[in-house]
Symmetry: C2
Subunit: 186 residues, 2 copies
């Protein structure tokens, strides 16, 4: 018999801090008929992560305190997708607000679920090429931040070293971007 | 002034489903003195993801229904780290239980925070080489699963296609493994 999805029988709302966070418990039925009660699920906004690159072969990072890491981290521009936006529009807005940059071309590198069991949200990953800073950043984020252009060689070395980037979304996005740039002959 | 971390003033427990999930709200003070109340934080177990490879140049995947994706997904062996285990011990146990395999060598590819804002947990990524199936799987997981050895070339093609793997941890782990194997001359 082919693999079957689970069936949701009932959903209970455990915590509602919409639009920031909801926690739900589902009673689910497995393909063999077994019922599992209270399987937990977390919902928060999908977000976009951008790998901004320029014609000089550099990647733009932001250095800032990240609450989830509870440390200063070197991360890529990223932010939540507003309800009225497409993922690409969100990525373009975040790049503009957080870095003051505009890109010549955008490549969609896919959307991926963050929590295999809990769900949580999806991260949409975009490679932005030909980036140039045209404005000052105006993000209004709580985090103070510094911008840093880093050569692709250095960004790759740090990626392989496994200790510089602290967030799984940074690792996922950089790996896909390196592969896409290799495919594109860069 | 260099970038400063935030300071936690108070923590409120909003939901306690330990050991599976806790949701907390922190009152935090930013470096400029501003106080932000109720910054949300989610806590769940850290987990290990394994990229199992063999001497024939193949990667071992599991095809199973994943609740967080709400679909059948092609994923890597993975599982929560028990309190008494190291991340490596957990990875070795998960590989044995979920696939019946043992590896000749293990390479730690780093640990990464899943939620940049919410925290959530950390994923520890391990490359396992020289894998051979020595037993039947005995995971006891709720999910039915099928095992599939896939050539590295095919796994890389799917990675670049951006539509086959559905979880961000799979993307992060595969990208790091491809880079580590390229460094090792494989």
């Amino acid at each position: 018999m082919p693999l079957q999805p689970w069936k949701t029988l009932r959903t209970h709302l455990l915590l509602d801090r919409s639009p920031r966070l909801r926690v739900l418990a589902d009673d689910v039925q497995l393909p063999d008929g077994q019922v599992v009660e209270g399987y937990l699920r977390v919902e928060t906004s999908d977000y976009a992560v951008i790998i901004p690159t320029n014609d000089a072969g550099e990647v733009l990072f932001m250095r800032c305190y990240k609450r989830g890491v509870d440390a200063i981290d070197l991360q890529l521009p990223a932010g939540g997708i507003d309800p009225e936006e497409s993922p690409l529009e969100s990525a373009q807005r975040e790049l503009r607000e957080e870095t003051g940059c505009q890109a010549v071309a955008w490549q969609n590198l896919g959307a991926y679920v963050v929590g295999g069991n809990l769900g949580i949200n999806r991260v949409h990953i975009f490679l932005a090429t030909g980036c140039r800073q045209t404005n000052e950043p105006t993000s209004g984020d709580l985090e103070e931040q510094e911008l840093a252009w880093v050569s692709l060689q250095e960004a790759r070395r740090w990626y392989r070293a496994g200790k510089v980037y602290r967030q799984v979304s940074t690792i996922a996005a950089l790996g896909l971007a390196f592969a896409a740039m290799a495919d594109g002959g860069q």
